[in-house]
Symmetry: C2
């Protein structure tokens, strides 16, 4: 099953019409446009950019049988990216936006590394910026992250990772886009290396009744090394508090340790990390190394 | 030169009397008490804790010739820790303090790992929690981090790291303590594994006039892999902004890249990271991999 990049949307919403409905366990390919909807071929194109066409996501894909209260399991099997990408700064945007006087955009070539200039090349770090499901209430523009996922700009959403999203509406309505060839934690300048891509996922529905974890309020992620709770919010401070609380609930539930013991363990062994600080809500992830709890559990489900 | 743990202080202050005055380039050993001033031998001791004796730092050490505007270079040559440590939770403290109903303390043994319980052992992660110089103005209790360093609880301040601190007063007045055998980023439960230790430093004065970087407003750090700007503040959001700005100024100054280019590079290659979220000010570090700028500079001085 392959979905091309003609099937896109700009806001996660329960009333979107699915492009396709798949069975739980299906493998799908999605072609995704870059965050500028592939409008920029030369730096000059930036000044004529249609800002109504930013952060497209490909999809949505409906999962047959997915019901509110279930969990959507998204295995990121592959990320293929274009051989060039775009990085930009914009006045008023990003951490240093009040010091940026004019928009600037650069197109960088990509091979096994990102070619920044004649002196600098950077390692590839392929990751998915926008990924989510239809949110609980009103439509959420793709640029905004939340409990439904969305524009988390989280660099651990990469090949080999498994993301778990709450299902709020029948079919879940999954979509993804805004892939980056490289991005540092924070995405401080407001863009990563923005690239078109082809993504391969395996999508599965975990019935809420089969869940071995507390009701899913925020995205969770696991990879070979770590478990993550991912929370977006108004401030880093509030998002941090909720990410830590989410993981503390999970640890207690899965291990039987008390809150005090779980807190001690998390204080010694786990890490509060920043995903991004420049979207309309910021995103924090709390990371617990799997090794720390391996005698109790080794996967979330 | 060895300073035992009888020479301690509880607030960084310009009027402290130095224990010793050393030449620039001196190697010193400091014996440090744990953050509870070694008052706890059994969990029961916690209820009788004298809270006026928390976060002692050993010192202070004066550097001959250090003047305001200079930079104190602190090379962390060695961290030896005790064979047991303390971890605790306290109602009202830490990220989950509003859910902690009673103080609990545990004493954990340490060998090549930290022995958490029968099922869990954690890797050692030896780091210095309190390290700094006399601050610009009034005395700052050791529990509070700031531009002078202090209780940064930053897990990258470990063996092999070099910390650079602004000098605000003649002699700098350096001290350190509050060593942890392990601590995750965030220190979410308000304690790491609190241990007594013996620290080895090389302390050097870099004259302000010889500096190749902008005037030092916040601590900087470098190790084999990375450069860091370290900022403490009221909120993670404000500290993040200042840490990013500090690194952006540094990158521009050292590379000659424009602000726009420096921002793009930092957005793609560098990482906004949390040191701790539970002290009276929180601490953020912005990390730039040395590899990203190696064609321009490979060390700060």
């Amino acid at each position: 099953m392959r979905i091309d990049d003609e099937s896109i949307f700009y806001a996660f919403h329960s009333e979107l019409i699915p492009v396709v409905t798949v069975e739980s366990g299906a493998e799908i390919q999605m072609v995704t446009r870059d965050c500028f909807s592939n409008q920029i071929s030369t730096p000059e194109d930036f000044s004529g950019l249609d800002w109504n066409q930013v952060n497209p996501a490909t999809g949505p894909v409906a999962l047959r049988g997915a019901q509110p209260g279930d969990i959507l399991k998204v295995e990121v099997l592959g990320i293929k990216i274009a051989d060039s990408g775009i990085v930009c700064v914009v006045p008023g945007a990003g951490v240093l936006g009040d010091r940026i006087e004019a928009a600037q955009v650069r197109i960088l070539s990509v091979d096994d590394r990102v070619r920044f200039n004649e002196k600098i090349s950077l390692p590839l770090n392929k990751m998915i910026g926008v990924i989510g499901v239809a949110p609980r209430g009103e439509a959420v523009p793709n640029g905004v992250p939340g409990d439904h996922g969305g524009n988390m700009d989280n660099r651990v959403i990469r090949e080999g990772a498994t993301l778990y999203l709450p299902v709020f509406h029948e079919g879940a309505l999954f979509g993804a886009g805004d892939v980056h060839g490289a991005m540092g934690d924070g995405e401080i300048g407001v863009s990563g290396l923005e690239v078109a891509a082809e993504l391969t996922f395996r999508l599965s529905v975990i019935p809420g009744s089969a869940s071995t974890i507390p009701p899913l309020e925020h995205p969770l992620l696991e990879d070979d090394q770590d478990f993550y709770a991912i929370v977006s919010g108004e401030t880093l401070d509030s998002a941090t508090k909720r990410a830590v609380a989410t993981m503390a609930d999970l640890v207690q539930h899965k291990t039987g340790l008390s809150l005090a013991e779980s807190t001690m363990l998390m204080s010694l062994a786990g890490h509060t990390e920043i995903a991004q600080v420049v979207d309309p809500q910021v995103t924090v992830r709390y990371r617990l190394p799997k090794q720390a709890v391996a005698e109790y559990f080794t996967s979330l489900f």
